[in-house]
Amino acid sequence: MDKEFITEIVGDKGFIKVDGDLDSEPQGEALRKAFNNVFDRGKRTIVLDLTGVQIINSYGIGKVLMCYKRLKAENGVLMVKPLNGFVKETFELLMLDKLLPVDEA
């Protein structure tokens, strides 16, 4: 059975809770589907919750950036919940922290 991430709409924001590491095709595909789910419901501010992610590799980064670009093309915003650990370090290494604002709410 394909993996599915939990999505939620709160006001004008869509939320995606990433379950597990972002380092493989099944996980990348789950993110793509969850993103499409929220995007196709008209949300242009989307928040990724990566607090449960321990490892993210370049494949996972690529999938996050794909979400960023699709939103940017429609003047939308991709945000992240406050990051920690290895994921935070990786985002800072690749300067993703400059691209993706943090949703502190």
Binding site: R32, N36, N57, I61, L65, M66, L93, M95
Partner: protein
Amino acid sequence: MKTLTKIYELPTVQLASEGIKLDLLSDLVRAGKIDTLTMLRIELAVQEAVTNGVEHGNLGLLSEWKEEVGPDGMDRFSREKYERLKNPKFAQKRVRVSVEVDDTKIEISVHDEGEGFTIDRHKASVALESYGRGIAMIKANVDEVSFDDEGRLIRMVKRF
């Protein structure tokens, strides 16, 4: 401690679906040579190197194809990868991973059978460019990185 050497030689199609698991790393954690976080870092670096060898090396996929996204959100890179993994011309190429461990370090080499590539050493790793991201992540997680055989071979060293 004597030098321990282990060599894995796996076909592209197997690596693309299963990745590679280096049992030696868990042994090093149990022996107290490295901690769990270091093991994860080395695993990540190896995974990036193997992925590069599989995708850019043996399958000949270009990074810029990741930017060509269709209306369904799927990019050309993913589509081409799916097709080439069904083609024996690409799928049966192999990747050789060799691991050497001694008292002071672990050295891992990943060698693919692709066309080779040139690393632009002066190109900054910028988040939006898929080129260089994997290499940046490798360099961030091991102590030394070097390339040989026209880019088909990457050597990584992590010191204890």
